[in-house]
Symmetry: D2
Subunit: 279 residues, 4 copies
Amino acid sequence: MSPEGTDSIGEGDRVLLYLDPRRTWLIQVKRDSSPFHTHAGIIDVCALIGRRFGEEVKTTLGESFRLLRPVTLDYIMKSERRTQIVYPKDFAYISARSGIKNGSRVLECGTGSGALTSYFASLVSPRGLVHTFEAREEFYAIAKKNVQKAGVSDFVKFENANLLNASEIQGSSYDLALLDTGDPWTLLPISHRALKGSGFAFCICPTTNQLEIVATSMKGLFCDVESVEIMLRHMEAREGKTRPSMRMIGHTCYLISGRKILQSPIENIKSAEPQGEIL
Amino acid sequence: MSPEGTDSIGEGDRVLLYLDPRRTWLIQVKRDSSPFHTHAGIIDVCALIGRRFGEEVKTTLGESFRLLRPVTLDYIMKSERRTQIVYPKDFAYISARSGIKNGSRVLECGTGSGALTSYFASLVSPRGLVHTFEAREEFYAIAKKNVQKAGVSDFVKFENANLLNASEIQGSSYDLALLDTGDPWTLLPISHRALKGSGFAFCICPTTNQLEIVATSMKGLFCDVESVEIMLRHMEAREGKTRPSMRMIGHTCYLISGRKILQSPIENIKSAEPQGEIL
Amino acid sequence: MSPEGTDSIGEGDRVLLYLDPRRTWLIQVKRDSSPFHTHAGIIDVCALIGRRFGEEVKTTLGESFRLLRPVTLDYIMKSERRTQIVYPKDFAYISARSGIKNGSRVLECGTGSGALTSYFASLVSPRGLVHTFEAREEFYAIAKKNVQKAGVSDFVKFENANLLNASEIQGSSYDLALLDTGDPWTLLPISHRALKGSGFAFCICPTTNQLEIVATSMKGLFCDVESVEIMLRHMEAREGKTRPSMRMIGHTCYLISGRKILQSPIENIKSAEPQGEIL
Amino acid sequence: MSPEGTDSIGEGDRVLLYLDPRRTWLIQVKRDSSPFHTHAGIIDVCALIGRRFGEEVKTTLGESFRLLRPVTLDYIMKSERRTQIVYPKDFAYISARSGIKNGSRVLECGTGSGALTSYFASLVSPRGLVHTFEAREEFYAIAKKNVQKAGVSDFVKFENANLLNASEIQGSSYDLALLDTGDPWTLLPISHRALKGSGFAFCICPTTNQLEIVATSMKGLFCDVESVEIMLRHMEAREGKTRPSMRMIGHTCYLISGRKILQSPIENIKSAEPQGEIL
């Protein structure tokens, strides 16, 4: 790939072909790539090598595509079998609230299609890790593929297992536990043990019922409990005719978070062993 | 400071004292720290050394505080003279959309109190940079102090200058231009030159009028232009009584973004010099 | 009072003194009224007789107030001990959805401070009725006073009683059952009997838990069940600086409605008696 | 038609056939009506006479429809060529804020498909009037038809004309001026003259640009100026799985209102003639 800091497209680079906000394609550029066919014409992919990101390319039908450098979000939005109901507005908030960055360690359950996995792996690289659990064989395979495409596999440890049965999680070693399953409250005790003191647990809850159970279950394990819903509305900003978009996604999920609390020192001495190891 | 991965509070560590969501204090722990006075009693700060993050500490009045490890967001929320109308929901979205991470280069104007500066510096560390411009002497000084407190000064280059007059910005070298001034559209051409091909410009617009001018001004310089408003509502999740919070911030700002486009190769040859250098 | 259609203020008229959106006063004008004192000066109330609605009046301190003709909403917003969490956006939607107008018959429980009572009484006048139940003696008294001030007492029948114990409600005779209590689902069966076929029941639910129980309880009694939340955000429309207001009420209540269904004719014959009479 | 208060369907009654929230049909019942065909089977319309509102009817395919009594909103939602972007949440708020009820006089421009016309005609009946202007011949015809179907033609005076050219509007005689055109600010002066003192003008503005011009143009003519946006989100209330609907209409329009102000008495004497007459 081309070294960072230059704009030229090199062998093996991935490129986001941009026609308009709703019509984009993610391709990989190689010297032996076949031409890429779209309804708007054919693009000679090999000829993109040496072109610069941001430039225009014409199809055989004369349509103009922009050559964009994909960022993690572009990979996520193009993921195979995207099952997540979590949107950029949501996982962006999770990362900002929990302070995830290079070197952070994230425990995730379940992996799903690997969208959140890819996003957090990108943030924690190169020194951190996303340790992710997915019990369903099918999703495990899809997620691995999607994360690889996003180029962040080196920072992800995949487990095709149920987190509840995990025997080798290092206690008190994660900065964030990210729970995106149907019953995240069942994973709060094990997440508590896995987290560093004061580390964040975040649960993704589509329904108010889940939210309520998580809130109740966090008591005694987590403090600074916060529940939010984030709504995003597009604006159509046009000269003399600016207004919100008439189309809007009404709801994705609620997010609930807490920070791990520890018992006081005296009690800790007694419970030091179970505290430091998972089961 | 204590090495990452252990939970113990060490000499020089900063600690977020947590009483409840509205009452938190950010302190630095040193062997010679004076006792910390709150309305809820006095805390012996020196004695916090060796305690673990997540533990409880009692004041002289018997009130319990939690010892939390501050993340960047906690520093931002405790910044001196916070002038920003940008909230976590907003800057989180900017970072996720533009794919900012370790190694990214961000150009910011203006610095304000340094809230966004700290957030992005945390994300780009240790290999990246936030290059930030603030013409107002007073804010320049405050921002430097706030960023230092957040522990990310090493990844920020401050300029007490107007970006428009900047002579030494390296062309085509930034991943994100972050414009948070009253007239961000005036900074779009210089931001365009500073950005890598396909790099993101993000403008923070409190009003629809600003949004409209930016949208119009982006034409011919940026593609994939997107305007959004993000709303956050807290939920009160309690057993049998779950509902949205009655208090809500109605509006902070609109966010508008675009990705830098380049002329086609032939034209680029002609304009190579001005393209690669700022002014 | 002055005949409708003329703008002059007459003996006994109520006037809304308007200084700005947050400072308004509702007064009654009589020939022997005392001067009205505000922080912005004194107003000679008697002298308002003969003035026209829409005109300006100066206080002794030279401040200008507008003389506005109060509409029902103004009375509601000025009600004594307003306990309602229902806002204009909410009760407006209820009336529009259920088609309440002159001649409609509304069954309400509980009366509270009489805000909804006044609003619906105004709409059903002069041929309709709001039949309202309030078990709490204290609210019963306050509501009577508030409704009288709003000038719509003639269209309201007050009951200081629990609707569940009501013995004289005429079956199948109401167009709308409006349930604003903590456990509205307990009132659904009696409301069903009181309503005309296809008539509307509307429940006001602050929490998602209440909403869920009502939705479940409506099954078999009501069709076309719809749950909504209505949010209102003020805009600050100013030349060159238009934006949403930063202050907003985050939540008032959810509204859930259904239309009464009847058994088929054959079954109806058998159950004709209980269907037509309440208890 | 059947007398109000009884539930039986009579000759000439309109019935809303309800299958589910998205599949409803509005029909008229006559002794010689043809059978009504739907994808869910055929209904014998004549046989509905004598049935009661709220009952069930089976199609030839065994599907169950509910027989609902249509309210004005049902007529509006079934209007031919509905062009309005105004939704129940919006016109409900207008009526509640301006206090429209039996006897009120409403001036509307433009009529569009007659949706707002029907709604307000229903509220002002039987003693009030909606006086509505529509310059476009095509819409004028459609609106007349739609309002007739809704059964409220008696309370509407249609004008196929531009309100600006109207010569016979009675000055100071309307309670509400309802402006739903592309440039409502041009109609503010004539609306001001048409309104009673303290009467309401309401403008429906899809864009922030329109909103801003109206707000500026209201100065000196109207007080208590208020701009709002109303958002409605459906809830899916189901046992154990309650959450907001994922589908939502993002925006319909902004609403801006003001109350007519008058000059002080002395000036009024001078301008009494033009004040009382339109042009």
